[in-house]
């Protein structure tokens, strides 16, 4: 990841991240996704407007991905080659999707929307953000212990 760290970093790197984050957060506020009630209304089929958030968001971002991958060489601020966001598929993608879905259905909030929710002054959302940190921490610990168990089992195997 050359060009994203320390002195190598282009002077416009952080300003661009900040500008992008401001627009991203403004959009989350305007879309009302920062309100758990609006997400729950969508999931309960009372207002389908959220489909347009996912729709226009992924089309606009997708256009940028397509332009970068097909017509551009390397990113000006990092020197990284443009690539699609591709993650390998395994059972975890389904397991994670199910757990995330239960959590989103219970709370009506997801990570980006939770940050934006704090921005509109909805301080009770700190409970959700705290929960997300705890969940990510617990998952990391569990993965660590599980891989240590596997390593021990492999070392003990003939």
């Amino acid at each position: 990841m050359s060009g994203t760290e320390g002195q190598d970093r282009h002077p416009l790197f952080l300003p661009l991240v900040v500008a992008g984050g401001l627009v991203f957060g403004f959009g989350l506020g305007l879309s009302h996704m920062a309100r758990p009630e609006v997400v729950l209304n969508f999931l309960q089929f009372e207002d389908f407007g959220l489909l347009f958030v996912l729709g226009t968001g992924s089309v606009v971002a997708g256009t940028a991905f397509a332009i970068g991958v097909n017509f551009l060489d390397k990113a000006p601020l990092t020197g990284r080659p443009y690539a699609r966001r591709l993650k390998s598929f395994d059972r975890n993608v389904l397991t994670g999707g199910v757990i995330f879905g239960v959590g989103w259905g219970v709370s009506g909030i997801c990570p980006g929307a939770a940050y934006a929710s704090l921005g509109i002054g909805n301080y009770p959302i700190l409970l959700a953000i705290g929960g997300m940190f705890l969940g990510a921490y617990a998952q990391g610990l569990w993965r660590t212990y599980r891989s240590e168990d596997n390593a021990t089992a492999a070392a003990n195997a003939d």
Partner: protein
């Protein structure tokens, strides 16, 4: 002949605030991507920020340590961007009436799920769907379906809100 459902029933608040808000979310993602080639999702922030306070090697992998400062900046900018929206539109100070245990418990599961599933609503939903990535399409279809069932079961059980 009367239509089975009217536009107003499907979209009681119209579509423009959703469509324009979504387009801005996409625009912020697009700007960062075109400048840096980084598909910025919101939830890697948890692991990368945990690397500041935890010695667990998993949180201290290079990809988290190298990105943790700009991910903090990205997250604080999302908070600030939403604050600018709220102040500009007279929407600041609204608070949710969703119960504390739903926020905390749901947030906990969201935190576990996004890390197991390699992404969240912005990583898989905006960047992954925008990349027409099969893994992300499967993940989004899964969490959408499960979330719909979960929310409707909670509603049927009389949990409001």
């Amino acid at each position: 002949m009367e239509p089975l459902v009217t536009f107003g029933e499907l979209f009681p608040h119209g579509i423009w605030r959703y469509a324009i808000g979504g387009a801005l979310i996409g625009l912020g993602t697009a700007a960062i991507y075109l400048g840096t080639a980084i598909p910025a999702g919101a939830s890697t922030f948890f692991e990368s920020t945990l690397s500041y306070v935890s010695d667990v090697p998993r949180f201290n992998r290079a990809k988290y340590v190298m990105s943790r400062d700009w991910r903090v900046a990205f997250t604080l900018s999302i908070v600030a961007g939403a604050a600018i929206y709220a102040l500009a539109f007279g929407d600041f100070g609204w608070t949710t009436s969703v119960s504390w245990w739903r926020l905390l418990g749901g947030g906990l599961l969201v935190g576990v799920g996004t890390r197991i599933g390699k992404g969240c609503t912005s990583g898989h939903g905006i960047c992954g769907v925008g990349s027409v990535a099969p893994t992300s399409l499967v993940n989004v279809a899964t969490f959408l379906a499960v979330a719909i069932v979960t929310a409707q079961v909670m509603q049927a059980l009389g949990v409001t809100p």
